[in-house]
């Protein structure tokens, strides 16, 4: 039996297929404006990539910010539950998750079965999310995927005091005007964002081992800043961005249809 998970995030859409408890395939595409279209596109492209048809899929679970728009899914489940299931599937020992996505950041506590025990989530504010890093990358004229690497070269990280994305951006612009080193500013940005996420982790008294998921896990500078704040190493797999979609496929396999 093959099961599918579709994760419609604010920036990227992800899909995953699992068969007999093994991961078959995954895919990531940009979400765009239309959630349902993104869902259809990501699902069909993945099926094509895997050489499968829709009839081959026993059940589909949708998740993420746009989960409710996916009308062909058998069930919509929150990304918190799906990241929990996905992290447990990929690494059964995981007890904590830090998920930093495009517009949300979350800290999740798992029990030994991968069930969510507690969670905390950012408010309606972009501080400590992927969007925050995107805004800063633009202000600093650095490619988003280079930000991590550049930040790790800092010799004296700057201090960003504003927690609001808009204020922090103007703070960064004054730093640019003062000709502070780009590496240092970026390291400061990572630390400011990590500080916000660490508050969520402290709220739920997170336990290790902790997996970092979501698109921002690809940013090595942010991950290092988080490890520093949490005083713990983070497990970051190559499928960090797809963890929610994988979890959705895992939960689809457990549906009683």
């Amino acid at each position: 039996m093959i099961y599918a998970g579709i994760d419609i995030g604010s920036i990227t859409a992800k899909a995953a297929l699992i068969k007999d408890d093994h991961l078959l395939d995954t895919i990531v595409i940009p979400t765009g404006y239309h959630h349902l279209n993104a869902g259809i596109r990501v699902f069909d492209t993945l099926l094509q990539q895997a050489g499968l048809d829709r009839q081959d899929i026993s059940a589909v679970v949708s998740t993420g910010y746009g989960r409710a728009s996916i009308d062909f899914a058998d069930k919509a489940m929150t990304e918190i539950l799906c990241h929990g299931a996905g992290a447990h599937f990929l690494h059964p020992g995981i007890r904590g998750i830090i998920d930093v996505g495009g517009q949300d950041s979350k800290a999740v506590l798992l029990d030994d079965q991968g069930r969510v025990e507690n969670f905390a989530m950012n408010d309606k504010c972009a501080a400590g999310t992927g969007r925050f890093l995107e805004v800063m990358a633009r202000a600093l004229e650095v490619e988003l995927d280079q930000m991590g690497k550049v930040g790790l070269q800092a010799d004296n990280p700057s201090k960003i005091s504003s927690i609001c994305t808009v204020f922090a951006e103007s703070e960064v612009i004054s730093m640019i005007a003062r000709q502070e080193k780009r590496e240092n500013i970026i390291a400061g940005i990572h630390d400011a964002a990590a500080a916000r996420v660490a508050i969520l982790a402290a709220k739920i008294r997170i336990r290790g081992p902790i997996m970092m998921t979501g698109g921002v896990a690809k940013n090595s500078g942010m991950a290092a800043a988080l490890e520093e704040r949490l005083k713990m190493p983070l497990v970051i797999g190559s499928l960090s961005q797809e963890t929610g979609a994988i979890g959705a496929a895992v939960l689809a396999s457990g549906l009683q249809l």
């Binding site: 929150t78 990304e79 539950l81």
Partner: protein, 370 residues
């Protein structure tokens, strides 16, 4: 139930409701929290109407109250400054939280309404001396109302008002109990419209309509549901979408300690006691809000017993952002629930809340955890 439409209509247009009541001969006195003694206002020949924010954008109130004041207080001030409450003849401010007190000052200084009273209630309501003091506060309030109306309030006026308000309380209590026994028999949005409507519409009309709701419910077929049973805890929840989101996520609201819910109609005024002592006593016995004190663990004890009595699966704290009294109480309440193995989660919200995506994600996950 056709009666529910009348409650929704009153809730959706409190101004029209007040103007109709005015035409029928009663002027309206607004109040902002459930410590306002409606019985005395009604006995004086006025219509007591609870004020809620109409959720317009905050522009004028920005000059008086900073953004760290709760959205309820800011929203109501905005309505007043913008002239949307010009149907009021007066207002009464019971002494509760700091923001309410500041609002009261600003209100008086920008005075638009003829009648204004601060009710300086005791901080503890359940001691012997507090009851004596409270009765004096109520007696003074009665005199203020008499001066405003030019008419003496007799004990019979008070007794009639007490009986009327008790009728509303008994009916609402029945609706709550029925809903707790048969979760889903009434939508959350309807349930809270009944309570809110009863705070807004004419008291007699509310009591009569609620009697109709009670008899319709008694004849209704209880739905078979397997929703997770939730208790809501907090201050004001004036966003009906929230109740829909709870139900959509697989939850059923089986009880609450909200100021816009059970706390407002909790307990009856003894009808055989001297009227003012009866009213004072009800406040002493009623479930308290965190701006008052009834013992170090009183609120936690009430909450735990609400959960037990209503066989609830969990508690959702609905906390209005920047509401200090509730925010201070939350950690100890959560700890008390944890100790009893009762799952809970805090949901911070705005009175003007319009984005429900994150709320739904949190609520769905929480209900899944139960």
């Amino acid at each position: 139930m056709k009666e529910i439409d009348r409650f929704h209509a009153a809730v959706n247009d409190s101004r029209a409701t007040a103007l109709n009541i005015h035409r029928a001969g009663r002027k309206t006195i607004g109040y902002l929290c459930s410590y306002a003694p409606e019985e005395i206002i009604h006995a004086a020949g006025f219509h007591p109407m609870r004020l809620f924010s109409s959720k317009h954008e905050i522009i004028l109130a920005e000059n008086h109250l900073q953004s760290y004041c709760c959205s309820l207080v800011r929203g109501i001030l905005e309505d007043s400054l913008a002239g949307r409450l010009d149907f009021l003849d007066g207002t009464v401010f019971p002494h509760t939280c700091d923001s309410m007190q500041r609002l009261s000052d600003i209100w008086r200084m920008n005075g638009k309404y003829r009648f204004f009273v601060d009710l300086v209630l005791p901080a503890k309501l359940n001691t012997k001396s507090a009851a004596i003091y409270m009765e004096k506060v109520l007696a003074r309030f009665k005199e203020d109302l008499e001066a405003a109306s030019g008419k003496k309030i007799t004990d019979t006026d008070l007794s009639d008002a007490i009986v009327l308000c008790n009728r509303i309380r008994k009916h609402l209590f029945f609706v709550y109990e029925w809903n707790f026994r048969h979760p889903g028999v009434i939508r959350g949005a309807d349930l809270y419209a009944l309570v809110k409507g009863a705070m807004i519409m004419d008291k007699k009309e509310a009591a009569d309509l609620l009697a109709g709701v009670v008899s319709s419910l008694e004849q209704s077929a209880p739905p078979a549901g397997k929703a997770k049973r939730l208790i809501l805890s907090g201050s004001v929840c004036d966003t009906p979408d929230i109740f829909d989101a709870v139900e959509k996520a697989g939850g059923a609201i089986v009880g609450d300690d909200l100021c816009t819910g059970r706390r407002w109609f909790d307990g009856l005024v003894a009808e055989d006691a001297p009227p003012l002592s009866g009213i004072a006593q009800r406040y002493g016995n009623r479930m308290t809000c965190p701006a008052k004190h009834a013992g170090l663990t009183a609120r936690a004890d009430t909450l735990v017993s609400l959960v037990r009595e209503h066989k609830a699966d969990g508690v959702a704290f609905l906390l209005l952002k920047f509401c200090d009294p509730h925010a201070f109480d939350y950690p100890y309440l959560k700890q008390a629930l944890d100790k009893q193995g009762i799952k809970s989660m805090a949901f911070e919200m705005d009175d003007q809340q319009s984005s429900h995506g994150q709320f739904s994600t949190r609520m769905e996950t929480f209900i899944h955890m139960l």
